[in-house]
Subunit: 418 residues, 2 copies
C-alpha cells in the first residue's frame, strides 16, 4: 500500500473513533483516561526500553544533548504523563454544554451546544510525553486524535500509543480514537493535510519551520502558534517600583518562553528616573540590554538596538529598550513590531489603562501584571493544548473548550418556513 | 508595479483601515454605514450607468440570462443595498463585549473581550450587491474589508466601492477600511491568499470551484460553505401529519437553497402508512421521487435511487426516499451521506428527540421543525455574512459575532509569575 492509502485508511479509522466518542458520556471518557494513566504506569519498563532505542538512534545520529534530553523518558516523566491524564479527568467536560438558548417569535427554541470537533490531526516533534497529553485533552472533549510524531521518538510513541489504544478499547471505544501515523517520511504529512472532510482540524506543535510548512500546505483549518514578541509599557503615571518588578519578572522568570518580555517601552517623562534603577536590577539578573538613542543617552555603555531587533523573539536574557513619547507612541510601536501575543501597560491612570485594554490587538492585554501570566494554568483554564496566535476560533491559551465547536440545536413543534 | 506588489500594498492600506476601526466607537461606525446608504441612494444613476457597462460586456461574452439577471442593478436592488446597510446599523455591535470575567487566586481579574478580527479578505463572484452587504457587516464589527469581486461585475463594484470609501473618509476612517482589488487576473487571488499576518481571515463566496481553489491555496484561515445534503427522519412515533408538513416545507419552500431537504428517511414501522400520503403531497408539488427498494415496494412506479444520489445536493424538486430500520439506522445514514449541514427528526418520543439532538453532528440539529429554518434571520442572529460548513470558529449561519474573536484581558495590581 502506498503512503497515500495508509494515511487515508488511518484517517477513516480515526473518524470511526470520533463517531463513537461523540456519543460517549463524560463518565466513560474519564474511565478511559484513568485506565490510560494506570496502564502507562504499569508499563514503565516497556516504555523505557522502547525509549532507549530512540536514544541510541539519536546518539548515533549525533543529536545534541538538549534534544536527547527532551526525548528521554524517565520514571518521573512517565509519572508526569500519568498525573497529567488524571488531572484532565478532574476538569469539566465541555461537550454538551448549552451556551445559550432563546425563543423565536414562531415558538421554536434555538440554542447553541458545544460539541466535539471530530478528528484532530496533531503534528508534533520530539517530546514523547506530548503523545499522552494531546490524547488526553482531545479525548476528554470527545475528539479522536490522529497523531503524527517526529521520527526521533518513533519507538517511544508507538509503545505509548499501543497502551492508550488498549485502554480505549477496554471501555468499548474503537481503537481509531487514538490513531498514530508511524510513517516518518515527510510525504505522510502532506497527505494528511489533504484529508479535508475527514480530519477536521490540524494542530501543529514544534519549530517555526514545521508550522509554516503545515500552514502553507493544509486544506484543513490549522490552529497554530508563531512567535511571541511581548511588550511592557511603563507609563509616566506608573508606580515605578511595580513597573520594575513587572518588567523584571516578565523578562527573567523564564526567558525561553513565548510570553517572556522582549521590548520594554518607557515613557519619556519618567525615562531618566526609571531606566537607571531598572538597569541595575536587569544587570543583577544578567540581562544584556540593547537601547534606542534616547535610552543610550540616559544609560551609559549599552548596545544600540536595530529595527530588526524590535521584531526579534530572543527567548534569551536579552532585552530591547525604547523611550517613547507617550501611550500613543507606545501603542504604535506595538502595532508595528508586536506579534499580537502579550502586552502589558503599567500605570495608575484609569483612562490610559482602559485605552490600552481596548485598543491593543493582542491575545492577552494586561494592566499591571507580568506578561508571564498569559498561560492556561495561570488564567484558570485547566490544561492547555497550546497557545494560538491566530485570531480565528481560539486566541491565546487553548483549553478543552477550544477543542469543541458550537452547533445550533432547535426544539420545535411543527414550525415551517413561511 | 507587478500584481504581487499591488495586492500587497492594498493589503497594507486595509490594515491601516483596520487599525483605525478597532478604535472607532459604535456610533462612529453607524454614522459611516448610514452615510454609505445615503450616498449609494443619491448615486443611483451613476451606479446604473457603470452597471450597464458590465451588462453590455456580459451580453457580448454570451453569458446566460440567469447570470445577467444576478449582475443587474435596478433601482429596487440599489434600494435593498441601502436598507441592508441601515438594518446593520440597528444591530448591536459585538466588538467590546466582555463575555466573562473571573478572579484568580492571586487577585487578578481575567476576562474575555470580543474584538474585531482585523482585515477580512472577501472573495466573491458576480452579484454586485454583495460588495455593500459584506462591507457593512465587516465594518460594523470593526473590521476592514479587502474585497475581490468577479470580473463580470468589475465596473459596478468599482463604482460602489468609490462611494463606500468616501463615506468612510467623511467620518475620519482611512479609505483602506474598504479596499477593492480591481485586478481580474486569477493570479491576484493567489497573491492575496499568501498574505498571512496582514489579512486575518478569508471568506470566499461563490461556486464550489472557487471555494475549493481558495481552500487549497490559502495560508490564511478560511471560513467557507460547501454543500448542504439535508435530511428529515420521520420516526415511528412521529405525528404523521406534522411529518408531512415538515417534509414538504423542507423540500419545496425554496428547493434551490443549501438548507432544503435532499433525502427523506422513513422509519420502517410507519413507512407503509406514511409514504403513500406523503407521495400524494409531493406529487402535487411537482417533486420527482427516487426511492430505495423498500420504498419502491410501497410506492408504485417511482425511480430507483443510487448510492451516489444520496450524496447529491440536487438544489431542485427531486427527493431521495429511504426506509430505515430505526433511529440508529437513520443516524448512520446521516453520518455516511450527510454534509453536516441541517438534519431534523420528527417524533413525539422524548428519548429519541434527545438522542438525535445530542448525537447528530451537523451545524443545525432540529426536532419537529423544517430544515429551511436554519438561517441567520430565522434564528434571530440579525444579518448573515454566510453559512459555515466548517467546525472551526463558526458553524452554521454567521452573524456579526462570527466576525469577531475574543482576546484575554487582565486587570492586575502588580501580579508576578512565581
Amino acid at each position: 500500500m502506498d503512503i497515500k492509502d495508509v494515511v487515508l485508511n488511518k484517517a477513516i479509522e480515526a473518524r470511526d473513533g470520533a463517531r463513537a466518542l461523540i456519543k460517549a458520556s463524560s463518565d466513560k471518557k474519564n474511565r478511559v483516561l484513568l485506565k490510560m494513566a494506570d496502564e502507562l504506569e504499569r508499563a514503565k519498563e516497556v516504555l523505557k526500553k522502547a525509549n532507549k532505542k530512540d536514544i541510541d538512534n539519536a546518539r548515533k545520529k549525533g543529536l545534541s544533548n538538549a534534544l536527547i534530553d527532551r526525548l528521554t523518558l524517565t520514571d518521573d516523566r512517565i509519572g508526569e504523563m500519568c498525573s497529567g491524564l488524571r488531572f484532565i479527568v478532574s476538569l469539566p467536560d465541555p461537550a454538551g454544554e448549552i451556551l445559550r438558548m432563546w425563543k423565536r417569535p414562531n415558538g421554536m427554541s434555538v440554542g447553541r451546544m458545544r460539541v466535539p470537533i471530530g478528528v484532530i490531526g496533531f503534528i508534533y516533534e520530539s517530546r514523547p510525553n506530548v503523545t499522552a497529553d494531546a490524547t488526553g485533552l482531545c479525548l476528554k472533549a470527545g475528539n479522536a486524535v490522529y497523531l503524527r510524531g517526529g521520527s526521533e521518538a518513533i519507538n517511544s510513541n508507538v509503545a505509548i500509543v499501543e497502551i492508550l489504544r488498549k485502554a480505549a478499547v477496554s471501555e468499548g471505544i474503537p481503537e481509531g480514537a487514538v490513531t498514530f501515523l508511524d510513517i516518518t517520511d515527510r510525504e505522510a504529512i502532506y497527505e494528511m493535510l489533504k484529508l479535508e472532510g475527514i480530519i477536521d482540524l490540524i494542530i501543529p506543535r514544534g519549530g517555526e519551520g514545521l508550522i509554516r510548512t503545515v500552514t502553507a500546505n493544509s486544506h484543513i483549518p490549522v490552529l497554530k502558534h508563531y512567535k511571541g514578541v511581548c511588550h511592557v509599557f511603563v507609563d509616566r503615571d506608573a508606580d515605578l517600583k511595580m513597573a520594575e518588578a513587572i518588567s523584571l519578572n516578565s523578562k527573567v522568570q523564564r526567558p525561553g518562553t513565548c510570553n517572556a518580555l522582549e521590548t520594554l517601552l518607557v515613557d519619556s517623562a519618567i525615562a531618566s528616573e526609571f531606566l537607571p534603577a531598572m538597569k541595575k536590577r536587569l544587570d543583577d539578573a544578567g540581562v544584556r540590554l540593547k537601547g534606542c538613542d534616547e535610552s543610550r543617552r540616559i544609560l551609559d555603555g549599552i548596545e544600540s538596538v536595530s529595527d530588526e531587533d524590535f521584531d526579534n523573539e530572543y527567548l534569551d536574557l536579552i532585552l530591547n529598550l525604547k523611550v517613547v513619547d507617550d501611550i500613543d507612541d507606545a501603542m504604535a510601536h506595538i502595532a508595528d513590531h508586536g506579534s499580537g501575543h502579550t502586552e502589558t501597560i503599567v500605570t495608575e491612570d484609569y483612562n490610559k489603562a482602559m485605552r490600552f485594554i481596548n485598543e491593543v490587538d493582542s491575545s492577552a492585554v494586561m494592566v499591571n501584571a507580568s506578561t508571564r501570566l498569559n498561560d492556561g494554568g495561570q488564567f484558570g483554564l485547566g490544561a492547555e493544548i497550546g497557545i494560538s496566535t491566530d485570531k480565528i476560533h481560539a486566541r491565546g491559551p487553548m483549553g478543552l473548550e477550544e477543542l469543541t465547536c458550537a452547533k445550533f440545536i432547535v426544539f420545535g413543534n411543527g414550525q415551517l418556513r413561511e
